[in-house]
């Protein structure tokens, strides 16, 4: 093997969690090497200026790695469809950047009900709040303060994205019902920041943003991290995290361009390869002393996978709503039904998020739920009645952390470097089915209250008709209270290997009923702050301290 590189901290994965950690550590002068299996995405790689912009989303910008089939993607087998993206920025390269925070109750779901595998987080909302604020300021969040349904949040970098006619229409519906609603926070610039332009409401997010208005991690954290001197190696696919005498020593990676293997040695290793990639890598890292994979002596690595439970409900109205304008994540959300009310027949709750609709081809091809314009004689009138008159309400439910929903290795399918593909099994719990069915009815009520519904369809892509797609993949190496109930302690330090940290969405203990990235990045920033201030303690630890014994910040 070629000579190795030595560094203070090795970060694996340059996505949401890995980018945040690399930047924060390097701010303090800590030497960081980051290994990322994908490459950079260039501003010209986005389809926004081409006539085939809507079609491109089904090719290079497909949400599914198995459909994109890029050489840097790894295939995923199993019964569901996890959505990920590979490259500097990770899955944020094509996320929508809806930016809600978890609520205080989300950190205490074990206390509230403890159904299935639910446990309390080892930290509270209040402990995480300062890190939410740091992260928001780093990346530039658009926000309207004053939501009475959530703890106060600091001013955003700019005002909330505009709601357009869709926002006004659906806001009026919620208003009539007296239900809570509020303009959504988005990690999308409404004011220029650094070299990133403010959003111009072009209406085509979820294929990245060529103006860099969306805070994907490649444009939010990475430029500053590189200026700090982080050694970011792209096309570097980690094959194994190495360990000796109970401590991580670094990792071996395959250079996807040359095919050669290299070793990086480090005092601390941070894994941030996302909720599929992280358990996959830990399981691939089975070695002497760690026969079932690294950090997996209790068998919990890969378990308690969460996706959120989903249903999309498309509504068409008798008036123009122009949903092709404005950024694509939720325009607004209602959290009227967020808290558990067991009289409904289920625990947990959901957000109703209102979304927009893309362009003419998408409208003709059935918008989100396959309500296809017929071909032939009926085409023209269907299109003319549906285009630009649409609003989407999606039910985004908190799914229970089910132990048997999990990531394992598929011995039969390999990625382009010959490494085993992850196999994913996910089934909705009965609780989550009930929740989604009930939520769909509330979506209908909101649209009816807004008035003038001429057509509606609901998706079979999530919720009650099958396993939901994995937009929000969480929980496979969760943080918890004891080595029996989790993979890491409250500082994201794995119970088995004290100098091995996990700082991506896999560390989330419960999934809440909101999009996860603001929370996972806040958690990552908090872990980085701990590593920054405490790396001498960590260097001398031979066992991972309990939550009570771990040093404070």
């Amino acid at each position: 093997m070629a000579a190795y590189t030595e560094t203070d901290v090795l970060v694996i994965g340059a996505g949401a969690g890995g980018g945040a950690v690399s930047k924060r550590l390097s701010d303090a002068g800590i030497k960081v090497v980051c290994l990322e299996q994908g490459d950079w995405v260039h501003a010209m790689d986005h389809p926004h200026m081409y006539d085939g912009w809507e079609l491109e989303r089904k090719r290079s910008w497909s949400f599914e790695p198995n459909v994109r089939k890029f050489p840097e993607d790894y295939p995923v087998t199993g019964n569901t469809t996890p959505y990920t993206f590979t490259g500097v920025g990770g899955s944020t390269l094509h996320y929508a950047a809806a930016w809600p925070r978890f609520k205080p109750v989300d950190f205490r779901k074990g206390t509230e009900h403890g159904v299935e595998g639910t446990i309390d987080w080892p930290i509270s909302y209040e402990e995480l709040e300062p890190f939410y604020a740091i992260n928001d300021a780093e990346i530039g969040v658009a926000r309207r303060t004053g939501d009475p349904g959530n703890p106060a949040r600091p001013e955003g970098w700019g005002p909330a994205s505009r709601g357009g006619k869709v926002g006004h229409k659906m806001g009026s519906g919620f208003d009539k019902l007296g239900w809570h609603w509020w303009p959504a926070d988005n990690a999308i610039l409404t004011r220029t920041k650094d070299n990133r332009l403010a959003c111009n409401d072009c209406g085509f997010c979820l294929a990245g943003c060529p103006r860099h208005s969306i805070a994907s991690t490649d444009v939010s954290y990475w430029p500053a991290a590189l200026r700090n001197g982080v050694d970011l190696r792209v096309n570097a696919r980690v094959e194994q995290i190495n360990a000796k005498n109970g401590r991580a020593t670094g990792a071996t990676y395959i250079d996807r361009v040359t095919g050669q293997r290299h070793e990086v040695r480090a005092g601390i290793v941070v894994v941030a390869a996302n909720s599929i990639g992280t358990p996959r890598l830990l399981l691939m890292s089975a070695q002497q002393g760690h026969p079932d994979g690294l950090a997996n002596s209790n068998g919990l690595v890969g378990t308690h996978l969460m996706y959120h439970s989903w249903s999309f409900v498309d509504f068409w109205f008798d008036e123009p709503l122009e949903g092709f304008k404005g950024p694509e994540p939720a325009v607004l959300y209602s959290q009227e039904f967020y808290d558990s009310d067991p009289s409904r027949g289920f625990v947990n709750g959901f957000s109703l998020q209102v979304g927009t609709s893309l362009g003419a081809a998408t409208s003709a091809l059935g918008t989100n739920t396959g309500n296809l314009a017929p071909w032939g004689a009926g085409h023209r009138s269907f299109f003319n009645e549906h285009f630009g008159r649409h609003a989407l309400i999606y039910v985004q439910g908190e799914d229970l952390p089910v132990r048997t929903n999990r990531v394992t290795l598929d011995p039969d399918v390999k990625d382009s470097s010959g490494l085993p593909a992850p196999h994913v099994h996910y089934e909705l719990h009965e609780n989550d089915r009930r929740l989604v069915e009930w939520g769909q009815q509330r979506a209908r009520e909101a649209a009816d209250a807004a008035g003038g519904v001429i057509d509606t369809t609901t998706s079979g892509i999530g919720g009650i008709d099958g396993p939901p797609p994995g937009w929000h993949i969480m929980g496979t190496c969760r943080m918890g209270n004891t080595p029996e109930d989790s993979v890491t302690n409250k500082w994201n330090q794995t119970w088995d290997v004290p100098n091995l940290f996990i700082t991506d969405a896999s560390s989330l203990t419960t999934g809440a009923a909101v999009n996860p990235t603001s929370t996972l990045q806040a958690v990552a920033v908090r872990a980085a702050e701990y590593i920054k201030r405490r790396h001498r303690d960590i260097a001398s630890q031979t066992t991972t301290p309990s939550n009570a014994d771990a040093p404070a910040l």
Binding site: M44, P104, V115, P320
Partner: protein
């Protein structure tokens, strides 16, 4: 010299399709235009597809001969040409009623190919500047533009209604207020337990 390119021509779909795009024979073009005209008939101020050159757009997205059609719309050049030839001049010359009958047969018997053809025709048609101009005559589409960028829509975008927002009421459970709730009696507590009871492993 070592080729350091990690994205050779056939490992990723090129943005905008493959240039210069396949060139159909005269008959193939006539057949494709005829099929497109039946899928999306013109009218109500909308031109028929054959008048707005959908075939150039489609030509870029048909995977050239020699490469595997791995990406949407999953149409490979050789097969695509053969299918158009199969329909032949006879289809192009047929009456609209006859063409519709043929397309209905295709939809029934060759579902996969029909869906691919329909989808790419829809995409092609609704990307054409003349069609966008027709959409601009619909009340809901008056501001609609050819592509999202470079202009965006900030100049024609409505903002929030402050009056409406001033009425919003809401609440949340504070950390110190979180209490145990009753669990619905008929809710299975643990799917693992359920599976065991059902005799599964």
């Amino acid at each position: 010299m070592t080729d350091l390119s990690v994205t050779p021509r056939d490992t990723k779909p090129p943005l905008g399709g493959w240039l210069p795009g396949i060139r159909l024979t005269e008959t193939q073009a006539a057949v494709l235009n005829a099929a497109a005209d039946e899928l999306i008939p013109g009218g109500d101020g909308f031109p028929p597809p054959s008048e707005v050159d959908v075939i150039s757009f489609i030509g870029r997205y048909v995977t050239p001969s020699g490469l595997e059609p791995r990406w949407f719309p999953f149409l490979g050049e050789d097969d695509f040409r053969a299918r158009l030839d199969g329909l032949g001049q006879e289809f192009a010359d047929a009456t609209p009623v006859q063409r519709v009958t043929v397309l209905e047969g295709l939809e029934r018997d060759e579902q996969e190919f029909f869906t691919r053809l329909r989808d790419v025709v829809y995409h092609a048609y609704y990307s054409r500047p003349e069609v966008i101009r027709a959409i601009n005559r619909l009340p809901a589409g008056r501001d609609y533009r050819n592509s999202p960028q470079p202009y965006g829509y900030s100049d024609v975008m409505d903002d929030w209604d402050d009056e409406l927002l001033s009425r919003v009421r809401g609440t949340y459970i504070r950390t110190e207020e979180v209490r145990r709730v009753a669990i619905p009696a008929d809710l299975p507590m643990c799917s693992a337990r359920q599976a065991r009871e059902a005799g599964e492993n």
